[in-house]
């Protein structure tokens, strides 16, 4: 058996902000299918049908943290935020949750003799993919151009999907921007671009893109510091890929 515990959660990125270290204590993610009773005249047992609509919700509990780009900043943001969360670990191929979320509830809860607590609930305004979402590039710091190790999905898919990028820290140095792309391949030898994210010049920053059609069996992430590295160039980012 391969159980996972709280120690395996490797990142939670909200709008590119890395907030796991803010003192997150509980997460609840919930996917629900809308069902309706379709028992008809003549039936002797109740019957149910799936309407075809799904709802998604994610709730979090933790300690209140008003440091720059931490928990409070992330939860106060009014616009939909890209939320990326890794419950299994930080390796390529580990399951991830990634979607564009609208924060609905944000409770700041002071109490005598205790640290303030902060709870929040998100609903999705886009995503998550209801197939498998995997870490394509682990959250890590890069100082050179490069590409990740390829991930083998075992087979290709034809239903498209979505990709998410979160950049939690960026020092450009000599570079003018950071450009991250996802590539796919049928043989792990010849690679073609699946999606390119908007060039990043500041952090925190995050982006969600949809992809259509075939996603080939092998995928990897490549990144380029435009203009070359030097003068302290460094970027910390993660990428996920979800297949519908």
């Amino acid at each position: 058996m391969t159980k996972k515990s709280s120690a395996d959660i490797s990142f939670l990125l909200i709008g590119g902000r890395s907030v796991l270290s803010s003192g997150l204590t509980v997460i609840n993610e919930s996917r629900e299918s809308k069902l309706e009773e379709i028992t008809a005249l003549g039936d002797t047992d109740d019957k149910w049908g799936a309407v075809g609509q799904k709802t998604w919700e994610m709730a979090q509990e933790g300690f209140f943290d008003d440091a720059t780009d931490k928990w409070h900043d992330a939860l106060e943001a009014a616009d939909p935020q890209v939320l990326m969360y890794a419950p299994e670990g930080n390796a390529i191929g580990d399951r991830a949750v990634a979607f564009s979320g609208v924060r609905t509830v944000y409770n700041v809860l002071p109490a005598r003799g205790a640290f303030h607590k902060a709870n929040a609930t998100y609903k999705a305004d886009a995503g998550p993919a209801y197939g498998q979402t995997k870490i394509a590039a682990p959250l890590a710091t890069k100082t050179e151009n490069g590409e990740s190790t390829a991930y083998n999905w075992t087979d290709p898919s034809t239903k498209g999907g979505e990709v998410h990028l979160a950049v939690s820290a960026l020092t450009l140095g000599a570079a003018t921007n950071l450009t991250v792309a996802i590539e796919h391949s049928i043989d792990n030898v010849t690679w073609n671009t699946l999606a390119i994210f908007t060039a990043v010049t500041t952090a925190p920053k995050a982006e969600r893109k949809t992809v259509t059609g075939t996603i080939r069996q092998y995928t990897r992430v490549s990144w380029v510091f435009a203009g070359g590295v030097g003068g302290g160039t460094t970027a910390t980012f993660a990428v996920t890929l979800g297949r519908n």
Binding site: K4, T25, E32, D45, D46, A50
Partner: protein, 133 residues
């Protein structure tokens, strides 16, 4: 009496229409709840209330809880890859003597609950549709 306990229970759930034994991944299950729908038919002149069976048997949702375990064909693996609206068969073998019942189910809800200092837990809610047989 021929009692049976949790140690006798075998839980099987289809993955893409192929039965998989998920017993070792389930730490709690609420089992079947079958309610015969009744309607009161107490009439004028009756000194006691009277009820009639409408003829429909209503089932409650089946809720299975277990650890977040990524092993293939476990509870989490089956629920997380059950992404269409297909019906899959849930079978409970209650005792070694072989008392077994099955029902077709829709996946109603999948919850994943990480919490500090604990294994992640998975809660899978199934909606039986049709007869338990």
């Amino acid at each position: 009496m021929a009692k049976a306990s949790y140690t006798d229970l075998t839980i099987s759930l289809d993955k893409a229409a192929v039965a998989k034994d998920i017993s070792q991944y389930v730490t709690s299950i609420n089992g079947w709840s079958k309610e015969r729908i009744l309607e009161e038919i107490t009439a004028a002149g009756d000194a006691n209330d009277r009820w009639g069976a409408v003829g429909i048997l209503q089932k409650s949702e089946v809720v299975l809880t277990g650890p977040y375990d990524t092993t293939a064909n476990g509870l989490f693996d089956i629920a997380s890859t059950w992404t269409d609206d297909s019906e899959q068969t849930l079978t409970l073998l209650f005792s070694a003597a072989g008392y077994s019942q099955s029902v077709e189910c829709l996946l109603s809800k999948l919850e994943i609950n990480p919490s500090k200092g604990a294994f992640h837990t998975v809660v899978v809610t199934l909606r039986p549709t049709g007869a338990i047989s």
